[in-house]
Symmetry: D2
Subunit: 151 residues, 4 copies
C-alpha cells in the first residue's frame, strides 16, 4: 500500500483548493500509517480564558481525516463528511497549538472512517477524541452522455 | 417550570460574555420547550460552492444548547461541552442562513443533553442533526472552609 | 410517498428472516412518518435492580430503524448498520416495556439515517436517544451484461 | 498509578455481581494501560450468516470499559453508561470470538471515557470501534444523617 500524494504534494494541493482554510494548519508527518497535523492556534480559535474552542478542534479533526483520504485516493477523490462523534476530555492548554494524530480505521469503496486524537502541544494527555466518517459518492455513468456537436 | 432568563435577557448576557462569537447568531424564539437559533451566514462560514461548513454547523449546535442551559439555570451556570455527535444529512442551500431547532432531552444535576435539528432557511428538510452533552461541574464545598473571625 | 410494506407485511417478513430476534418486539404503528416499536421486556433484558440493559435498548433502536428501511425500500433492501450514537438519559422503569418512536432523517441512495427516542411504557420522559446509520451497498452493474439474443 | 483490582480479583468480582452476563466474556489481559477482553461467541450472538450482531459488540465494549473503571476505582465504584458512539467497520468473521482492546482516555471525578477497538479473533483489521462514556454519580453526604439509636 502506498500514498497517492506525499506530504509535499498534499500540502500543495490543499493550498490550491482551500487557500483560506489551510493556512491555519500544518502537516507535520504523513505516511500510510496516518497523519500528524497541527492547528496553528490564533486568537480566532480561542475562547475567553485562552482555551481552544470546540469548533476549532472539530475543524482540525475534519481536515486531518480529509487530508488522509486525499493522500490515499488522490486529487480526484470526492468525499463529504457524513457524521462525526467527538469527546472533549480535558481543557486545552492556553494558547498552545493543538496536535492531531489521525489514522484511518476503514478505507472502503463508499465509506471512510478516521480516528483522531488531539493534544495540546507539549502534553501527552489527550484533550479530545474524534471519529469522522466520510462518504465517497458513487461514480455514475452519465445518464445522458454528452453529445459531441457534429461539425 | 420556567425560564431563568428570557430571550431578551439571554441575548444581552451572551453579548456580554461572548461578544465576538454571538454576533454571528440570533435567537428567534425561546421558551421552556426549546430554542430556535439562526446562524447569520457570512463568507467565513462557507466552503467553495457556497455550502455552509461543518465546523459552522457544529458551532451553531453548541451555542444553541449552551443558550438553552443558560436560559434554564441562569447566569451563574457553569457548563462545558463534553461530547457531541453529528450527522450531516444534506448539502445546505448555497449562502442561506441555517436555522437550528433545539430541545433539551435531559437537564440533570451534572449532565445536560440537547438535541438540535438544522435546516437551510426556507427548507423543511434537515441538513444536519446534532446531540451535544454538557457537564455541569460539581460545586465543591471549600476544602478549608472560611473561618469566622471570633470577635 | 408511500410504504413498500405495511405493518402487517413487515411483521410477517421480519418473522420470516429474524424469527429468533423479532419475537422480542412488536410494531405498534407504522406509516411514512415513522414507526412505534415496543420491546417486550423479559428477564434477559434486565440488569440487577430490574432496569433494562443498554444492549437491549441498542437492539431496539437498531431493529426500529431497520424496520423503517424495509418498510420504505421493500424486501429486497440490503442495509447494514455502519454507525450509531446513543445517549442514556434516565434509568428505565423497572421491568416495563420500552417504547421506541423512530423517524427517518435521511433516506438516501447509499445512506439512511434514523433517529429513535425511547420511553418506559407509561412515561413521557425519554430514557434514551439513538441515531443509527445504515449503508445501502451499491448495486453493481453486472460485469458481463446480459446479451440480448439476436432474433 | 496502580490497579485497585487485578485481573483475578476483577474476574471474581464481576462473577459475583453479574453472574449471568459475565460468563459470555473473558479478561485476557489487564493493566493500567488497558484491558483485552474476549467475547466468547455463541449462537445467541450471531445473525443469519454467522456474523456477530451489533448489540453483542455494544455489550462487549460496555463491559470492557466498565471492567476498566472497576479495576481502577475498586468495588465501591458506581458508574452508569451515559453515552456511546460506535462505528461498524467490517463484517466480523463467521462464528469467531471478538477480541476487544480497551483503553481509558479520561478517568475524571465525574466522567470516564473509554475507547475500544474490536477484532475477529485471528485478524488485525478492526471490525468495530466504540467510545463509551460513564458517569460517576456524585457522592452526597446524607441529608439527614442516620441517627444511632440510643440504648
Amino acid at each position: 500500500m502506498s500514498l497517492a500524494l506525499n506530504k509535499k504534494e498534499l500540502t500543495a494541493y490543499l493550498q490550491e483548493i482551500f487557500p483560506e482554510v489551510i493556512r491555519e494548519f500544518a502537516i507535520e508527518t504523513l505516511d500510510v500509517g496516518g497523519i500528524t497535523m497541527r492547528l496553528l492556534v490564533e486568537n480566532r480559535h480561542l475562547r475567553p480564558g485562552g482555551t481552544v474552542s470546540g469548533p476549532s478542534m472539530f475543524m482540525l479533526a475534519d481536515v486531518a481525516v480529509y487530508a488522509m483520504v486525499l493522500s490515499r485516493l488522490g486529487r480526484e477523490a470526492l468525499a463529504v463528511t457524513t457524521s462525526s462523534s467527538m469527546d472533549f476530555l480535558r481543557k486545552p492548554a492556553a494558547a498552545q497549538d493543538i496536535i492531531a494524530r489521525g489514522t484511518l480505521l476503514k478505507l472502503g469503496r463508499s465509506l471512510v472512517v478516521g480516528d483522531v486524537l488531539m493534544f495540546s502541544h507539549g502534553s501527552d494527555k489527550p484533550v479530545a477524541r474524534a471519529t469522522m466518517t466520510y462518504s465517497i459518492p458513487p461514480v455514475n455513468p452519465p445518464v445522458n452522455p454528452p453529445v459531441k456537436p457534429t461539425p
